[in-house]
């Protein structure tokens, strides 16, 4: 079996129909367990007080905002190189999901930043590159809507995705590139000294799993919509010709 089998819309629809109930169930379980654990059963941080509970939303959403763009980049490259329609549609399907995570990260970041930094927003390298990534999400979605020919739209949005990847990477690594700004480094690290305390880390891992699964579920559902929509447009075009 090869991964390229899923480039066949029929195969993708059959496999995703089987996988979706499992994905939905696992998403709900992970999100409920992670968020209830984090909100109700973890202590306040000695420095940040109860605002540490925002970590269970902010870190997974920011992580997925960047990873969603990376997934769109891979799907776009597959489209550019191999011209598989399902990959272009999967990239299109992922964009609103990534945008939602980006907005969650921005809103929760502002709400967290105000009491901790004394400001809702700062033109810090990580925040600024993240804001630019948000604008790329809007631009990507707008470009898909603006072009009637789906293959041309897939070509142009793929190029836009390649360019936007610079800001996706900057959002993640800006803290390492520029040793300035308010935003701290990674919350999760293999280095025990840098990592957050275990009492926060374990529920955070469950929340991250929940957000990853939510992304996967939404992308599967939205790719199915795009495949059906493509077939609908083809049938309507055939009707008009007949």
């Amino acid at each position: 079996m090869s991964i390229w089998e899923y480039a066949n819309p029929k195969k993708f629809m059959a496999t995703s129909a089987w996988a979706l109930p499992w994905a939905v169930g696992l998403t709900v379980v992970c999100l409920v367990v992670g968020l209830v654990w984090g909100f109700f059963f973890t202590p306040d941080d000695y420095k940040q007080g109860s605002t540490v509970k925002i970590i269970y939303l902010h870190v997974p959403s920011a992580m997925m905002a960047i990873n969603a763009w990376v997934m769109m980049l891979v799907a776009s490259l597959i489209w550019i190189i191999r011209r598989h329609h399902v990959s272009a549609l999967a990239a299109k399907a992922a964009a609103p999901v990534g945008l939602t995570f980006t907005l969650i990260a921005l809103v929760t970041g502002a709400l967290w930043g105000q009491p901790m930094w004394g400001t809702w927003w700062a033109w810090d390298p990580r925040l600024t590159s993240f804001l630019i990534l948000t604008l790329f999400y809007f631009g990507y979605i707008a470009l898909w809507s603006a072009i009637e020919n789906p293959d041309t739209a897939a070509d142009l949005t793929s190029i836009l995705c390649l360019v936007g990847s610079v800001f996706a990477l900057l959002s993640r690594y800006a803290v390492n590139f520029w040793n300035q700004g308010l935003h701290q480094g990674a919350s999760l690290s293999l280095d025990k000294q840098e990592n957050v305390s275990d009492v926060f880390w374990l529920p955070l891992l469950v929340c991250i799993a929940g957000f990853v699964l939510l992304f996967l579920t939404m992308v599967l559902m939205r790719t199915r919509i795009e495949i059906r929509s493509r077939r609908l447009q083809a049938l309507l075009a055939r009707e008009r010709v007949a």
Partner: protein, 53 residues
């Protein structure tokens, strides 16, 4: 049961509320689009089936 969030209650509860609203909007929109496209495709396929037959 509800933890004491102290002076940061607005920030914490605001974050959870905003996240819930945004995720609900995404899920709701996706379910609505899925139902709309599925119904439209079924209608067009039925028409195409009739004209073919």
């Amino acid at each position: 049961m509800m933890p004491d969030l102290g002076k940061y209650a607005v920030a914490v509860l605001g974050s959870y509320a905003a996240t819930a609203v945004l995720i609900a909007a995404l899920v709701g929109l996706t379910l609505w689009q899925a139902a709309r496209v599925k119904r439209a495709l079924a209608e067009v396929e039925a028409r195409a089936g009739k004209s073919d037959g």
